[in-house]
Assembly symmetry: none
Homo-oligomer: 249 residues x 2
């Protein structure tokens, strides 16, 4: 069996199941665990999926685009996007970085809204190309293939002369004590810069990211202005996040 064939099958399976485990794939494809693992790494480097412990999950942008056509909707995203859109007002400057949730929200912005969206995520830029009244500023820099965003000092520098009204910050984890943290050092610095040039900061997280821990801290929880989840604000999972400075939506 050809390597490319295998990888194609992995992507197809991922398309239907949304997640795969390395052990299953190894048995299914009749190759060693290691080969599958190496395939997954390659595919992740191309930005086609996201590697997780024990397997892989469908990659953000691609799967959203694909699932849209199939009529499959993730209700968690829908709930979050609805709440998020309430914060977006005409003629504002919106800053959005990478991440599935932000991508989904951007797609849900009404077509007649007049906005400027600043982003380091090329996929988000092309998705917003269908919004005629949205001006898009794409931040330059080194293109980080895994997360499909631009990062680095150039990206930080690009932000120097921008002042945003609202920053939609993506995050990998949010935790009452440890704050917000992600997996990539350089990106955490970029997020800090993005925070510093934004009037208000909002982060939208899906349930599984709540109370997780990641390596590189971006900021304390109290630094946020809004927290959006798919849960009701009074949900017990959010109990630790009560803070007079942060509005939970």
């Amino acid at each position: 069996m050809l390597k490319e064939e295998r990888q194609q099958i992995i992507l197809e399976k991922l398309g239907t199941d949304k997640k795969v485990t390395l052990v299953d794939l190894g048995q299914m494809l009749n190759v060693s665990y290691d080969s599958v693992r190496r395939d997954i790494i390659e595919l992740e480097d191309r930005g086609l999926l996201k590697k997780v412990h024990g397997g892989a999950i469908a990659h953000s942008y691609l799967s959203i685009k694909a699932s849209k056509g199939l009529g499959i909707v993730n209700t968690e995203f829908v709930t979050i996007a609805k709440k998020a859109l309430k914060l977006i007002e005409n003629h504002k400057i919106i800053l959005m970085d990478g991440g599935t949730t932000n991508f989904y929200i951007a797609e849900q912005i009404p077509k007649n809204m007049e906005l400027t969206v600043v982003t380091n995520n090329p996929h988000l830029a092309t998705a917003l190309a269908e919004h005629p009244k949205v001006d898009i500023i794409l931040l330059g820099g080194s293109f980080y293939k895994r997360y499909q965003i631009t990062i680095g000092s150039k990206t930080v520098q690009d932000l120097e002369h921008i002042h945003a009204d609202l920053y939609f910050m993506g995050t990998n984890s949010i935790n009452p004590e440890l704050g917000l943290a992600i997996r990539h050092y350089e990106e955490s610095l970029l997020k800090q810069k993005m925070m510093s040039i934004s009037r208000k900061i909002v982060t939208c997280v899906i349930e599984e990211k709540i109370n997780r821990e990641e390596n590189y801290k971006v900021c304390d929880f109290s630094r946020l202005d809004y927290l959006i989840t798919s849960l009701h604000p009074s949900d017990s999972l959010l109990a630790g996040f009560k803070n007079k400075n942060v509005e939970i939506l």
Copy 2:
């Protein structure tokens, strides 16, 4: 058995199976492994399939862009890309702007090449994500939806500190008297900046753009270092482009 006959069979098998292995083909066609491999190489040169380690896969199988963008593989692009790749050397800094031709060339860069590619075309950046050894610098700026590139003074400014070895300049028209010209004013200024920071300039044009006229001049023809078309350099269509400064490939 004739070579053409064999190749026809290979394509048919590829049409049904979407993939073939060299060993299978060798047995099936009763010729040596080497002959089959040479067939595969020829077919790849004609853009009819994609060669991979151990065999070949149908072209559309891999590339989504082929189905949405370029449609059926255009041999003109294949010819141009082959010539273009001769100019690309390891460890060089390549500057590429928008346009279908550049996109196609980028996709054809060998997977093991070590390069830095600077571009204002996000699609090109994501396409190059499949090249593990290619560093990608994405230029920031205003995202121009129609051409799906970044333009504007920010993009020009980003180029200030970059010096490229080779600039693949896309163009809408090339004309012996009028030079190279495109349809968008701001973009023409950007191209002039790109020229100024590049050691060598090459433009790759498909036949239909030769001798056309467009509104915004980028530069004189003699400003180029190389001109690449799908035609033979001595073709009569290129008669007006004889110039001792410009090498026609």
